[in-house]
Symmetry: C2
Subunit: 203 residues, 2 copies
Amino acid sequence: MLKLYCAPKTISLAVVTALNEGVHWEAIRVDFGEAEQTKPEYLSINPKGRVPVLVTPEGALTETGAILEYLGETALPNLVPVDPLQRARMREEMYYLGTSMHVNHAHKMRGYRWADQQSSYDDMQAKVPETMTASCAYLEPLIVGPYLFGTEPTLADFYLYPIATWLESDGVNVAAFPKLADWKAAMEARASVQKAISDGFTG
Amino acid sequence: MLKLYCAPKTISLAVVTALNEGVHWEAIRVDFGEAEQTKPEYLSINPKGRVPVLVTPEGALTETGAILEYLGETALPNLVPVDPLQRARMREEMYYLGTSMHVNHAHKMRGYRWADQQSSYDDMQAKVPETMTASCAYLEPLIVGPYLFGTEPTLADFYLYPIATWLESDGVNVAAFPKLADWKAAMEARASVQKAISDGFTG
């Protein structure tokens, strides 16, 4: 059975919700409150000190986007468009989320990754509402509805979901992005997302 | 014919070198010296104001990782491992490069994306040697040789190449990472990379 190292309120929720779409799996919760992800036992599993980590029969796999792609190929083919250009569009959004929007968010609480001074952390934190609002403004016109690319969700929808749960606390005026709000409601109507919420993964 | 919006010394070199592996393509150079990527004409092509952008018969595609995957599916299948777990390992490295290592580098010159004060930019810039060295230390033991995953390069090798050309100016002691140095030499022995260098894409 697949196992997933994961923690509430983190990007690992993307994989939790995707797994809930139809994979038999087990959660191994990493206690961020105790900084468990920084300790030797966890670093032996993932030297990057991050979640998620998917434990497959052939070894541990890291990086949210790569794990989602692996699940799409091995267990959840319905979440991957058949058409090559549509797959490319899905990946374009996944890479945007991973390289830009999630990175914007990370500057709120993880400034120590890229700077050493408290004044820099404060500066970074103050800019998060602006950068996350800009990310929402980029996404908003791209949303076809009800899901990102139309009538069915893809891996990209699951990648976006945790990030969408952070927007209010990141200082984004979510009312300014009605398509994104409708998209989030559509995701939250799915049993997979409801189960992740009731299991406490949204905090 | 495929066209690529690209600029020297940027991550677009990943796509330039991959295209040179066997695709008939044309470069459209974006003049970063003139900040062309921030002007309305370019923003109408890519509202994110970044390179690369691949112009396909069906529209423009952004995000380095997504473009590489598209080329792997449509034109360069030899750069994608056949085995699902090996494809997952390739994507794990690609996502690491996009979400972590390239982001570390970007804090040297692009601090304004995430902060507003000069003191923050200085602080970020000072930390780049440390973060890029840590990224090299993560990659070093993973390199099978001569390429990342063995005898043939994959999309991940092409994603890493531009980043590897930045290491010295990012303050990394490259002599401390002999496997990475050998890997870079193997890449630079390829005609595709040699052509990109002689075409001025490494600066």
